[in-house]
Each structure stands twice: as structure tokens, then as C-alpha cells.
Symmetry: C3
Subunit: 358 residues, 3 copies
């Protein structure tokens, strides 16, 4: 995935959204961050991502303290991020380590440093109090970096509030309507269950002895055969989701079914736009490039051409209003999304109370 140096988003002086800050957000695919830094906006803040001399990924404020140039459009020199405008260099600790101009005094600037961890093929960023950043809180997506699994993946900036994107994954009943080629009636007609456990919300879909869609059957190599089918979505606050999709011949124990694990991670760029990271892996046909390309194409089409336009338009039709103020109809399939929205609201409220008290 190339770095096209897209213009920085236009933002106003005050943030418009309220976000959970003491949590891990996905900042990017680790392998997309090479020698070229990246300019990103997370939670309405400009963040520069780069790798230092040791290859360790770093995240600092992406607006140069000198004349506000986009540091993420700079280059890395001797492990420091060099501003593209007048060449000040900043370390991953956010301090100026080189001033190329006469005298060379180092300005006393402290850029905000965002804890950044490379794990499970992803970069995880902590937008809150660095002292609280605990890598143990990163959800387990080890299959993404496990050679036993081959993943297709993508990243895009999607219009719409990130909670609408979480809703979409938690309520898979949309699949029958939005992804007709990919999904049969299983998600609508099967058995489903929603629950909450600790800080996770779960949505489970089970359908035994039924036909999968043509699309999924092709991926799983089960065309024309009835299958038992298990889908389990796990939501991690604020918007990182794991989808455990399994199918097997009728009667196969769930643990022995073929698994297609998926990631759907949403990181707010602004209240109206969302970084969407997705991946789906398989543990068969490893190295089959043609199969991989077909699988990638089908999923990318589903997420970017089918889901995203509907969610974008739903977002616009909300016209900036609060979700609950719109008194939405709640359906059975919302058991996951509503739990997630309530829990996220509680977490944000608690965080704000704590910071107000401090």
C-alpha cells in the first residue's frame, strides 16, 4: 500500500467528538510503515508514524512546532523524523535532536509522544495518558502474525462515525441484504445470541445443516454441500472486533470446523470519518496467490463497495445528531451494538469523571 501523501484533513480549532482515550486503537498495518513516515489523524489529532534507527515504530504529534508542517510527510534521518519544511529532527521521544541551521541550538520543544506497540502485524496506538498504556490490554490477534495463517487485508478511510461501523459487524443480519453474493440466509434465519463479558460484547450466530452462500462456499471449498455454521463476533472497546467464522460438515464439533478468523478495527479520524482496518485469514491453500487475490477482491468489494456507502449515507442522514436522541427502532439484531454503545458510553463517562476529579 503506497503512501500517497493525501492532504491533511481540514479541522476546526476544538475537537468536535468525545473519545475514549485510555485504550488501544489500531494505527496501521505494521508492514505498511517502512522507511517512509506516515501522516495520520486519529481522534482529530495529527499523528506522525515512523520507524527509528532500531526499526521501532514511533508516534508523535505530526504538526511541527516551528511552522506546523506535516512531520509525517518528512523523512527519517539517523533514526529521527526530519521535518519536510526546514529540517528540524525529532526523536521518537518527541524532542528535537537536530537543528541543521547556523548555531544549531535545539529548540526546547516537546511533541506529544503516543505509546505505540507493534503486535499481531498491527501498530497499536494509545491516545490517552501514557502512564496507563499497558500492552497487555491489546486484544489477541496473534493469528495475524502466525505463519500458519494467510491473511488478506485492507485499510481505508471510510465516511461515517466509527460506532456505526461497529454496529455493522455486531449485527450480521445486514449481510443477507447488503452482501447478497457473499451470504445466504444464515445470519438472518439462524439462531443468535448476544451477551457481554467483562469489557467485551459478543454476538453469536449459529445455523446447522444449511447451505452457505455461493461466495463463502467457494472460499471454503464446500460448494453445494450443507454445512453447520458458527459465527462469533467479539467487540473490544472502543471499536476493535474479532469475527470467528467456522463451518463444517453437519455434526462436526465446533472446534474442528474450518475457521476463517477476521479483524475489523475502527479508529476514529474525525466524528465523521473512520480508519477501517480489516483482515480475514485461512489456514489452507497457503501460498495460492490466485485464490488469495480472489478472496481479497471479494472481501474488499463487500466492505468498501457494499457496506461503506450505506453507512456513509446513514451517517449523513443522522445529520450530526446523537444516536439516542434520534430514538432509533431497536431490533433483535441490535443486542450486540446496543450493549457496545452503552458500554463505550460508560467507559467514556468514567474516564471524563476521573479526569475532572484529577
Amino acid at each position: 500500500m503506497g503512501e500517497e501523501r493525501a492532504p491533511v484533513p481540514r479541522l476546526g480549532q476544538e475537537p468536535r467528538g468525545t473519545y475514549l482515550r485510555n485504550t488501544w486503537y489500531v494505527a496501521g498495518w505494521a508492514s505498511d510503515l517502512g522507511t517512509q513516515p506516515q501522516q495520520r489523524t486519529f481522534l482529530e489529532e495529527p499523528v506522525a508514524l515512523f520507524r527509528d534507527a532500531a526499526g521501532v515504530a514511533q508516534a508523535i504529534t505530526a504538526s511541527c512546532p516551528h511552522r506546523f508542517a506535516p512531520l509525517g510527510h518528512g523523512t527519517v534521518v539517523d533514526g529521527a523524523l526530519m521535518c519536510p519544511y526546514h529540517g528540524l529532527r525529532f526523536s521518537g521521544a518527541g524532542v528535537c535532536v537536530h537543528n541543521p541551521h547556523p548555531g544549531g541550538q535545539l529548540p526546547d520543544a516537546n511533541l506529544q509522544v503516543y505509546p505505540l506497540v507493534e503486535r499481531h502485524a498491527l501498530l497499536w496506538i494509545w491516545m490517552g495518558d501514557a502512564a496507563k498504556a499497558d500492552a497487555l490490554l491489546i486484544p489477541d490477534f496473534s493469528w495475524l502474525s502466525d505463519p500458519k495463517w494467510e491473511a488478506v487485508r485492507g485499510v481505508t478511510v471510510a465516511e461515517g462515525h466509527y460506532e456505526l461501523y461497529s454496529d455493522n459487524i455486531l449485527d450480521l443480519s445486514h449481510a443477507n441484504f447488503v452482501h447478497p453474493a457473499l451470504v445466504a440466509s444464515a445470519f438472518t434465519e439462524g439462531e443468535r445470541k448476544f451477551w457481554q463479558d467483562g469489557s467485551s460484547v459478543f454476538a453469536e450466530y449459529i445455523r446447522l445443516n444449511d447451505h452457505l452462500s455461493v461466495g463463502i462456499s467457494a472460499v471454503m471449498g464446500t460448494e453445494g454441500r450443507r454445512q453447520d455454521f458458527y459465527g462469533l463476533v467479539q467487540w473490544h472497546a472502543p471499536a476493535v472486533l474479532y469475527f470467528d467464522f467456522r463451518a463444517g460438515d453437519p455434526g462436526t464439533p465446533r472446534e474442528e470446523c474450518t475457521l476463517l478468523p477476521s479483524l475489523h478495527a475502527f479508529t476514529p479520524e474525525t466524528p465523521d470519518t473512520t480508519h477501517y482496518f480489516w483482515a480475514t485469514a485461512r489456514d489452507y491453500k497457503l501460498g495460492d496467490a490466485e485464490f488469495t487475490a480472489a478472496m481479497r477482491g471479494a472481501l474488499e468489494f463487500a466492505f468498501e463497495q457494499e457496506d461503506m456507502p450505506i453507512i456513509r449515507d446513514s451517517h449523513r442522514l443522522m445529520r450530526g445528531a446523537d444516536f439516542w436522541d434520534l430514538r432509533p427502532v431497536i431490533l433483535g439484531g441490535d443486542g450486540g451494538g446496543v450493549r457496545a454503545r452503552r458500554m463505550l458510553q460508560r467507559l467514556i463517562d468514567r474516564e471524563r469523571e476521573a479526569s475532572a476529579a484529577a
Copy 2:
């Protein structure tokens, strides 16, 4: 005209404009609404248009009460409009008639229903109190559906306030300047008269024994010959206009002249954008496809390439200010536009007073 599923416009929470509500607006060309529903915005409200099982055109709120998806991007199933996101189905009465999910309970949602009448080849929508919707108030454009007449027509979304578009038709003196190929000096140099009658405003242009433009002469087959020329514009509040254009050899009684009837109907999408519906018909050379195409091309060019950019820029130069606050110079040719603006303001004021009193 295909349905390109354009993104929903971005709108804020509160409407910015004030509109006449108890009146008929043109919502579309009847034949453009086939089996595929349409997503539209009228008076800053999202409206879904679709045909029910009986083929009757219906209009309901276009934001699904479940998760706000654009209902107008859905499909019609068993005569009901199915939401493209999770498949709830709504009747033309605005109630949910099918829930495809387990249990299948119908949510108690009442979408706003907009009276919609198919008449004169057009769909007419009533954005106000449904109890007051009286189809007899629809202006007579029966020539649009009369097989004796063959019409060329178009529809587009034009930037600019809809009253600027009404002004444009009521003051045909612009034609000499904006449409040089289409119009000779007749509209500027001829005799003209403006008056008001009931709730209509009229603008009349008469020029005897003069040359028409090359363009109009070609359409009428009177190249090089002097003609008597009669133009009568009738404005119906808020912005539906009929243009009765006649020409004939000098001395021909007005009623015996060749008539080219036109419709120009403007329906506000937002305070800054307008649905522009236009048509012009003839009762000769019926079925001559080449002639029809040339006529359509000439008119579309005039309205979309010549009028629209000037009105768009005029609108922007008003910078959101009230028309009268800008103290515009009033010319003789404004006799129609000013009457129409005043009458529309009175109608809107009266409607607001009545609703405040209620």
C-alpha cells in the same frame, strides 16, 4: 434517466431554510420512477419515492427508523419498500409491514407519509399538512401527458436558491444575453407586461413582425421569415412555471400561432440547491427522433450550461444574505419576479402564523 445512487447530501440538524409547505412541489418525472426506488431530498427532508404493488407512486421519509439507512436506495418487495441495510419493509402508509428477522415482530414505527400524486407525467409531492393536500390545486400541465404533444424534458440538481431560478424564467430579458444562439432581441425590445391574478403571477412578452433567433426559427421552421411572437409566463407558487410561447406569420391570430408550451418547475433541495425540472413540447414533427434530439440538446445546453452557472455564481455572491437586505436594483423586467417573491413571502408568513396559532 438512470438512478446513480448519488450520496445523500450533508445536512445539519436544523433546517436552514423556510419553505411553503402546504403546496404541491414537483418530485420527479413519473416515468423515471420504475421498479427502482429513488432517494431524494426536498426542503431539506429525505424522501424515498417508490411504486407499490399496484404501481402507485408513494413517498415516505427516506431515513430508516432502525439505523438511518437511505430507504430510497432499497428495493421494492411485495409492494413494500425494503431497507437496503437490514431488510425491514415499509408500506406507502409509512408503517413497517415486514421484519425478516427471528420473531419478526413489527416495530412500531410511523414514517412520515407525503401525499404524492401522479399527474401530467409528473409526480407531485405535498410537504405540508396531509389533510390539506388537494389534488385540484395541482396546476394544469396536461399537455405533458397528451399524445398530441411530444415533449423533450430534463431534470438536474442546480446550485442556487430556487427563487433565483423562478426569477430567471419570469424575467426573459435575460435570454438575449445568456442564450445568444437561442434568442434574438425580442425579449428585450418587445412589449412586456406583468400582472398578478389570484395566486398566479404573469409575465407577457409580445413582439410583432420581427425576426426570431436562428435557434427558435430552426425549431419552428420559420428561418428567415418575420413572425409575430407571443410569450406568456405563468408562475404558480412556490416555483412552478408555465411558459406559453407562440409565433406565427405576421397577422396570424394569437390562438392560431404555433405553440411551444414549456414547464420549468423548481423544488428546493436545500437553501443552496434546487431540483430543476424542465420540458418543452411541440405538436408537429411528432416521432422525428433526430429533430427531437436536436431540440433537447439545444434546450439542455441553454438551461444547464448557460443559465445554471450564472445563477450558481449569483447565489454564491449573495453569500447567504436575504434578497431584500441586499437592496437589489429593480429593473422593469423584475415586474414578475418581484411580484412572485412578495406573494411567496406572504404565503409563507400566513402559513407560519396559522401554524403558530394552532
Copy 3:
């Protein structure tokens, strides 16, 4: 440079920026204003530029007092600017001199007239009190119209506040980083000095006996040879800059070095967009079209592809905040930009106090 009739910018009712008004801004290249008028926005005001019957360039308000059409998209008839909508004609004195409609009474409209002077191949506009417009205050760029010099030049609308563009020219230390092909280390490693004299700010860069960049050497024909190098930037409030760049064999007296004079003039369109006029001239290889094209291409690339994206993004990253409120780091190279910003602020404050007192 053709006139593409770009749409008028969208602006709100009140200006958002505060500008120095009693001063000369560059309005355009004189030769770009031919028989076709121009529609421009300066300091958030719409301005029409045209040439009258005597060929004298005129500037008046570009919103027609009748129905607000963009006068700058009109045509000149008998030396007056004819509105493109209904054909009223306005003289350079801002009065209506012809009404083409029946009766032909001239409306009593007085468009604002902006003093406009054609000098040094440029049009200079005065956006303040006309009584104070003194052409002697126009800075001397006579080399632009002197046949001894052959200039390459350009004009574009650049995103970003105009002061960020002045900063860019006053602090040439950016060149090493932003224009690697064009500039060697001279601007960073050489000696530099900043001072203020009357209402001008100066930035001087001197480097003796060093290699120029490949790009500049090619323009000057000194490839591979060491040179003495002198650069002097002179800023005129609010944002018109002269860059005097000289180089010669080591030991050549400064006055005898080869001179490449440059203009960089910035005229605010809005607080977020800037008209950028630039030119660089030489007094050798006159008439060498190939050389001219190469020089023009190199400079256009530097200004439009290298400078402008960084300044655009820096501007966005300021998010509409005041420069000083952001507590920028000040480097040695800011000696010019900071002086210019302070002086401009004083001039604006003084002008506002004077007008408040009046």
C-alpha cells in the same frame, strides 16, 4: 493564461479575516487582462477586472447590483462592463451607463471602484480608502517590464494563509529541504542576516566560494564551478517580496555578479486561500525559448508542487488558530518572517484605530 471561468468561491456573509486595506496588492499580470474581463476575489470581496475603451484596466465590485451576477464573467461593450445576466453596463467609475431594456433608465447604482494601476507588467489594486491610493507607494519591479530582462512567470490560487507564504520566501533555509534539486546547502550553511528598514523587512543570505545546486548552476551556466553567492529578500507589507539573487566567480564584486531578480507577491483571496504571483528574470540567453521553458518548468514545479502542498498542510494543521496563540518555536531563520508579521500586525492595528477614530 486562459480564463476558465472558475466558479465564484463560497463565502459567508461577514468577512472572516482582517486585512491591511490601505496598501497595494497585486491583482494580476497586466498582459493576462485582455478583452475578456476577470472575476476575482480579493480580501473576501468580489472584484471584476476589465479594460475600458482606452485600454485602461479598471476594477469594480464584481456582483451586479441587479441580481448579483458575476460581472467579471461579462463582456466589455463600448468600454463598459456588461453584466452577463441582463446586460446592464457599468463604467470603470462604477456607475451604470447603459440599460438595454425598454425605457432604458439608468439605475442609480454605485459600485465600489478600486484604484487600479498598471505598472511593472502587473496590475496593482488598492482595497482601502481610494483617497489614500498613491501610486508612488507601489514597490519598484521595473525589471518586469524592462526589455533587458526576460522573465518567466506564473499565477495560481494557493491554499493557505498569505503570511505563511511570505514566511516561506523570507526564510530561505527551507529551500534545502523542500527544493533539493534546486538548491544546495548555501541557504542553510551560509551567513545570513535579517533587518528592518522603514516599512520593509530584509533577509540576506551570503555564501562565498561554494557549489550551487545542480539546478541553479544549470540556469546560470556555472556547472561544476565554485561561486560566490548573494541572496537578498525584501518584503513589502503586506506580502509583496523581491528576491535579489546573485552569483559570480569567487571574488567577483557583488554588483558584477549575475543577477536573477524574482517577484513573489501574495494577495489574500480568503483567510484560507492566496493568489500567488511569481516571476524570475534573467538578462542573458534572451529569446532562447527552450531555455525559458526549462527555467519556467523548474520554478513552477518548485513553487506549485514543492512549496504549496507543505504550506497548505501547515495551514490546515493550524486549524484556524492565531499564529502566536500556537506558541511556535522561533528559529534563527525566522528573523525575517517574525519582523514582517509584527510589522504587518502594527500596520493593521494602526489602520483599525484610525478608522475607529474617524
